[in-house]
Symmetry: C2
Subunit: 487 residues, 2 copies
């Protein structure tokens, strides 16, 4: 035993009979260590069984509605029974937009603020008579609040592609009466705002918004709306957004999509009458949650604490940060339509307000329309048949790339635009918001362009700061809205 | 058509007959848009079918060996037929360590450098006679290179828990002759280095290493080795490592584990005779790949380029960065044992050289040993029965937390230690390497502690810089090794 003691000296107390360790089996060999338990997988299996027993609970075919329909009610619907042609060649023969409003549209119809949401949010930004539940920006909007309903008429929509009342992949295609599922066309952020513009003019008769405001995907939309219809917007506020997506964000969303699509229950998008891909959704949300927050916040909030220090470590969640992610994923897994997530996530990847991309999209839409459309022009996605190879493409220089954005945003560079960035954001890093301000200033005289940055001292909440650091975001927004218009 | 033209004005060219758009169905209704194709899923299904036809190709039970065994050959094996007791209560009745070496051990036996690997690397750091394939640090090690084989005797091991020749979950438990799978005990980084220490003393008769060197998980091990056996190490080099894991890294690894464990083929770890969880492995590797590189590098390398601009956008990979991730995942999916990934990843999460954690581990090992072990003392993992709740735990203050590390590392604070950090690393952010240097300096007179940082200008390769920015890492390492010893 000498050799043994030498290696494990300080920790070895007694080992009376080494042969007992190897435990030569008699009739019933016992493994050296017990089988690990997997309560997280047990739970998934139990949930699967439950969902299989009650498919109706997760089908929109028959009641009760799925949770993502149930949690949303009390919205109004704008329904345009005309086709909308999309940036990447598809079209919708008609569409609906779910919206809610707060405050009153004045007689001059010049006090309307359109609030754009993040990827998975509904039109329910704030409680209202028809739905008294707190909204996702409950304390940001209201009488005397940052978006003051005593002054402004606030409207929030569920973007097309969503599942909270607007036309999306879970809607029925009027052409054949079946759900779109993955026959839904690829959407762009600009498609979403063109649909919103129809609603603004048709439903409210508003020719020019007082302001277009949004954060995250909404921060893309607020810029895109102005960019598509420069004369139809007064002021623009873009919070934690960007002028085009960058590869790190694309990579993070890519992983979410692939994880979701790998869930057999996703069934290439046709899951509406079966068990929904709740595991894929849960995992995708866990990845997303990492991108929504910041390391320093978690350091303070969770540190290295384990959920239960008396338990042995496990492969199922056991650090506190793991149980937090698990909970966030679980909560979301049946709250949102998986296909809506995929299409919205892809639209964010594709976002690019550079002049080249805008021109390509216009050309594509024009082609589709002139071909009289709907005949299957949506190109079918293809994976390169060759395995990945590093391509030494003639890429743009950083200057050319920047200039592409300057040109793309030139039509709105003379406007009053507030850009807000958050230093602790890892999904839309702050250089992207600085970039928006930079290209806007380069495209015009820069007088109307304001840039405000929340430092790590202001907010450690990362990308989610617009939901959590209301004062730090709201203060600059209110001051900006109250400023005299230059137009 | 007026209203229509107003909304889609610039892009509308002609819409001869709107009723054709809605396409009232005759006998065979045609959807508005075609079904999207999913070549990435087609490929997975094809691979599944192939693996089902040829299970032997992925089983270690019968030839041919799985690819993760095939790619590794020509190593030597240290086999200790005595039990090793582990930090979290489990034990291995015996164990093997695969190793390779370069250079010659001198007569004084004082020129040995132990190289610790990253999570999924083998002992094949460099080509050698028995395996002429290039190693993972091929150009770092060699005659006249940064780790100079003319001077030093370099040894690299596959850590226990791995699948490249050392005892891991794919090994057979001598107690019952079955594979460990998830009956393998939870490992710690310190367990790995205690096993290595047996090899160093038994196999080579070396009482004191000239240096303990490693990057990433190896950067944890190089510190842990010194920390477990202060008198058995001369110099220490820790590259892109940390003194304890932080919640952001834990979160990223958590997602990888959950994605992998959600693959039905993983089968709670018992997949060795069936189709391996290649999809889960692929997805886990894609997430990992994001953490290994940096945004700025991808900005330059991929930008927003799509793999094939002539194709319509797709939900399967289509941006160049997506095809890159897809390829990295695919390549890895059968190259490494899934259970080894899970256990290694968990060991990294659990890494904490603070005095409290070290004391707990020692207590646990002592208990297990004194109970004469192997009777199932490995606590079974448990998910908290209550759903996630924010716990307002009495957490340590940042000062207390730092002091815990200072005390934990005090036994090696007098040593010569080089810590290298990389500014662009998002997995082991540079504040963690600064922290190592800080706590080492606080624990002693600080004279032997050196800190070197690669700025974004030096390397944009993030966590992978130790594999790619050889000159920037190697220069400081060589100078440090050549300095006169203080002991």
């Amino acid at each position: 035993m000498l050799r043994f003691s030498r290696h494990f000296g300080t920790s070895l107390r007694s080992l009376a009979n080494p042969s007992r360790v190897a435990r030569a089996s008699t009739s019933h060999p016992v493994p050296s260590n017990p089988q690990m338990a997997f309560p997280c997988l047990d739970r998934i299996e139990k949930k699967n069984a439950l969902l299989q027993l009650k498919p109706a609970a997760n089908s929109m075919e028959s009641g009760p509605e799925p949770s993502y329909s149930r949690i949303q009610s009390g919205y109004k619907t704008f329904h345009l029974k005309e086709p909308i042609f999309l940036d990447y060649g598809g079209y919708l023969p008609e569409f609906k937009i779910a919206y809610e409003s707060w405050g009153t549209l004045n007689a001059a119809k010049d006090n309307m603020i359109l609030v754009h949401t993040g990827l998975s949010a509904s039109s329910h930004a704030k409680s209202q008579e028809a739905n008294p539940a707190p909204g996702w920006w409950e304390n940001f909007i209201g009488a005397g609040k940052y978006l003051d309903t005593d002054k402004y008429f606030i409207v929030c929509t569920n973007a097309i592609g969503g599942c909270y009342g607007s036309t999306g992949p879970s809607s029925f295609d009027p052409a054949d009466g079946e759900r779109y599922a993955t026959r839904f066309p690829i959407l762009s952020i600009n498609d979403m705002v063109r649909a919103q513009h129809c609603m603004v003019t048709e439903e409210f008769g508003v020719a020019k918004l007082f302001a277009s405001i949004g954060a995250s995907m909404g921060g893309m939309q607020s810029l895109a709306y102005a960019s598509e219809f420069p004369e139809a917007v007064g002021k623009v506020v873009s919070i934690s957004g960007c002028a085009r997506s960058h590869p790190y964000s694309i990579a993070m969303r890519h992983c979410q999509r692939q994880v979701l699509m790998a869930d057999a229950n996703w069934n290439r998008g046709f899951y509406y009458d079966g068990v929904p891909p709740h595991v894929g959704m849960k995992l995708a949300r866990e990845i997303a949650t990492i991108t929504y927050r910041s390391g320093p916040e978690w350091e303070l909030r969770f540190g290295r604490n384990r959920a239960d220090n008396s338990q042995s470590p496990a492969l199922c969640p056991d650090f506190l940060v793991e149980t937090y992610l698990d909970h966030q994923g679980e909560k979301f897994s049946l709250e949102y339509d998986a296909n809506s997530l995929l299409y919205g996530s892809k639209a964010m990847d594709l976002f690019d307000l550079g002049i080249k991309n805008r021109s390509r999209a216009l050309k594509k839409r024009t082609e589709t329309e002139s071909q009289n459309l709907g005949q299957g022009q949506t190109g079918v996605c293809a994976l390169p048949s060759q395995p990945y190879q590093e391509k030494h493409q003639a890429t743009e220089t950083p200057e050319e790339s920047l200039n592409d954005l300057v040109q793309g945003l030139k039509p709105i560079s003379h406007k009053q635009i507030l850009v807000i960035g958050v230093e602790s954001d890892i999904l839309f890093p702050v250089w992207q918001q600085r970039e928006i301000a930079e290209v806007l200033r380069k495209g015009g005289d820069g007088r109307g362009i304001e840039y405000h940055e929340l430092t790590n001292e202001d907010s450690m909440y990362g990308h989610d700061s617009f939901l959590l650091a209301l004062d730090d975001i709201g203060g600059p927004v209110r001051r900006f809205l109250e400023k005299a218009s230059v137009e």
